[in-house]
């Protein structure tokens, strides 16, 4: 077992079934485009900027922030994660649709790592639903105190017997929580 690392904060986002469909489906669908990314709602933007060491930045003029994140469970693998600004004070993690030509789906969030997946020809959210894990899906990015990033995900309901002081407690939220940042302190 590798030496355990000290974590500073964990950024996480509750992936909704509609988003799951958007990042799994064919990138060109009849009737227009649609989002090929994971959105960061405006309520989560200040915490996200803080997490990315861009505290207080004006999101309307924000340049693309790219971090290199290793894969939780396979630390020798890594991939970039691009945070883009989006109108309305929102942000997005860009190019997460796995079928788009320039896809940059992070290697922690792929089927080979156990990330849920829907068939390539899935046509709508309803068709994607049976492939969406019961109990939900969350992606997370952990930042070590040294400033290194690790990406991973959780799926399904909170495991039985998990104690409230477990740092993964919030990664299995109850109810409609969009996401957040877990501070080690």
């Amino acid at each position: 077992m590798a030496q355990k690392l000290n974590i500073d904060r964990i950024w996480w986002r509750n992936v909704q079934p509609g988003e799951f469909y958007n990042i799994e489906r064919h990138h060109q669908i009849q009737g227009g485009g649609g989002s090929l990314y994971i959105e960061i709602p405006s309520s989560l933007v200040p915490e996200t900027l803080d997490f990315l060491d861009a505290t207080g930045a004006n999101v309307e003029n924000l340049p693309v922030i790219t971090i290199e994140a290793r894969v939780a469970g396979r630390p020798h693998e890594s991939g970039p994660i691009e945070f883009h600004r989006k109108k309305g004070g929102r942000m997005r993690i860009a190019r997460q649709n796995r079928q788009q030509p320039n896809s940059q789906r992070h290697p922690a969030w792929i089927a080979a790592r156990g990330f849920p997946t829907a068939p390539d020809d899935v046509r709508n959210k309803q068709e994607a639903l049976p492939y969406f894990p019961e109990g939900g899906l969350r992606i997370y990015i952990a930042k070590t105190v040294e400033g290194d990033y690790y990406a991973g995900f959780t799926k399904g309901p909170r495991p039985d017997g998990m104690k409230p002081n477990n740092p993964m407690w919030d990664l299995y939220p109850q109810g409609r929580v969009v996401g957040g940042v877990i501070d080690a302190d």
């Binding site: 355990k4 690392l5 974590i7 469970g73 991973g152 740092p167 080690a184």
Partner: protein, 393 residues
């Protein structure tokens, strides 16, 4: 609970003793017991996150709680009471009978023995922790004597003004005291100018309600960090697996639908608000009074099965009769009108029998304003349900 353990360890780390105080059944003794375990097997901390980069399923964990005092730690328990004295805690005399006759021999009490333990070159221990239960049941000035000074870490070895032990009752020859007997058959002597060792830590408990106990001596009090133990409704919610956000506010429309656990939770909440307002928060009822309320029963196959609702109501009624109501009676002693108000005696439910009512004489000629004696657990189940549900409002 882990937060409170953090608080105690943090007090010790800062060279202060800790005093846990609060009403009965708020988890003081339980905390001391968990602390005792923590000193042997450090539990997970509530702060800090560790990450195992090779683990996919559960990569995050908490670091072990840091034990801030040197280990290994010797742990000693003692309980103060009205007959507890200086001889038990510091230094006493006991008769020793031999062929030459009877002579009095010095015996180390709990506190001095802790100091002698750390001064013993053969000891394996680096710290001693003394748990004192019910610290306000003894006479602190009589128990601590001049050793009250050594509760303060400043006057110990390594402190800012270390003082020699002032044990004038001992005779010193060639710079060494006469022999002092210790528990376990050991014998020790003290060199002249001996200073009290640094690593003797105390955690004590004090019941804030008990009228039989004296208020804590101010000289003693200022040498302890006070850690308040309050009734915590969340403990009940967790114990009964209630979603605390889903517990309804009792209203005209929903009070008759409350489950026994919701009723018990809301009942304690209401009683404590009333008690805090009438008597002060130190008189509130601890959550531990309600934790014995049955939630599950072990089935024949060994699995835990939820109890039937009727059984849960009966269990609440029994706890009310045997524990809660006697505590209320005690707190509202001499305030019968306030107690009757609290029990809604004059504002009973609009329909149906209600547990608490005024006492009447058979002849009907005496005008009384006193509560009729009642054991709720002996009433019809519908009356039990109606009464507790009504009492939550």
């Amino acid at each position: 609970m882990a937060d409170k353990i953090d608080d105690v360890l943090s007090s010790w780390g800062a060279g202060r003793n800790a005093l846990l105080y609060g009403p009965p059944a708020t988890g003081k003794t339980r905390l001391v017991s968990e602390l005792f375990q923590a000193l042997n097997t450090p539990p997970e901390s509530n702060r800090g996150i560790l990450f195992d980069p090779d683990d996919t399923e559960a990569p995050f964990s908490r670091p072990e709680q840091e034990i801030t005092i040197p280990q290994p730690i010797k742990v000693v328990w003692t309980t103060f009471h009205q007959s507890y004295g200086y001889e038990d805690f510091v230094l006493g005399l006991r008769p020793e009978i031999s062929a030459e006759g009877t002579r009095l021999q010095h015996w180390a009490g709990v506190f001095l023995d802790a100091a002698l333990e750390l001064a013993d070159p053969e000891s394996q221990y680096k710290s001693v922790v003394i748990f004192i239960d019910e610290i306000n049941r003894g006479n602190a000035a009589r128990i601590f004597g001049e050793f009250m000074t050594f509760l303060d870490f400043d006057y110990r070895d390594g402190g800012s003004v270390p003082l020699p032990l002032p044990l004038r009752q001992l005779t010193y020859v060639d710079g060494q005291s006469e022999e002092i007997r210790r528990p376990g058959g050991k014998v020790a002597t003290i060199p002249e100018g001996f200073t009290f060792p640094k690593h003797v830590y105390i955690v004590s408990t004090m019941n804030s309600v008990d009228r039989a106990a004296v208020p804590i001596d101010s000289a003693l009090a200022r040498r302890f960090d006070r850690i308040e133990m309050r009734p915590e409704l969340d403990v009940l919610a967790d114990h009964w697996e209630l979603d605390r956000d889903a517990i309804p506010v009792p209203t005209e429309d929903n009070w008759e639908t409350l489950t026994p656990y919701e009723a018990a939770y809301l009942l304690l909440d209401r009683l404590n608000v009333a008690i805090a307002s009438d008597l002060g928060p130190e008189f509130e009822l601890g959550h531990g009074l309600l934790t014995p309320m049955l939630a599950t029963r072990t089935a024949a196959d060994g699995t835990a099965q939820p109890v039937e609702e009727k059984e849960a109501w009966r269990s609440l009624a029994k706890i009310w009769d045997d524990v809660l109501f006697p505590q209320l009676e005690d707190r509202y002693s001499g305030r019968p009108e306030q107690l009757m108000d609290l029990l809604h005696v004059d504002t009973a439910p609009p329909a149906g029998d209600y547990a608490w009512r005024l006492r009447t004489a058979k002849g009907g000629t005496v005008e009384a304003r006193t509560l009729a004696p009642i054991r709720v657990s002996e009433l019809d189940i519908d009356v039990v349900k109606r009464s507790f549900r009504w009492l939550t409002r």
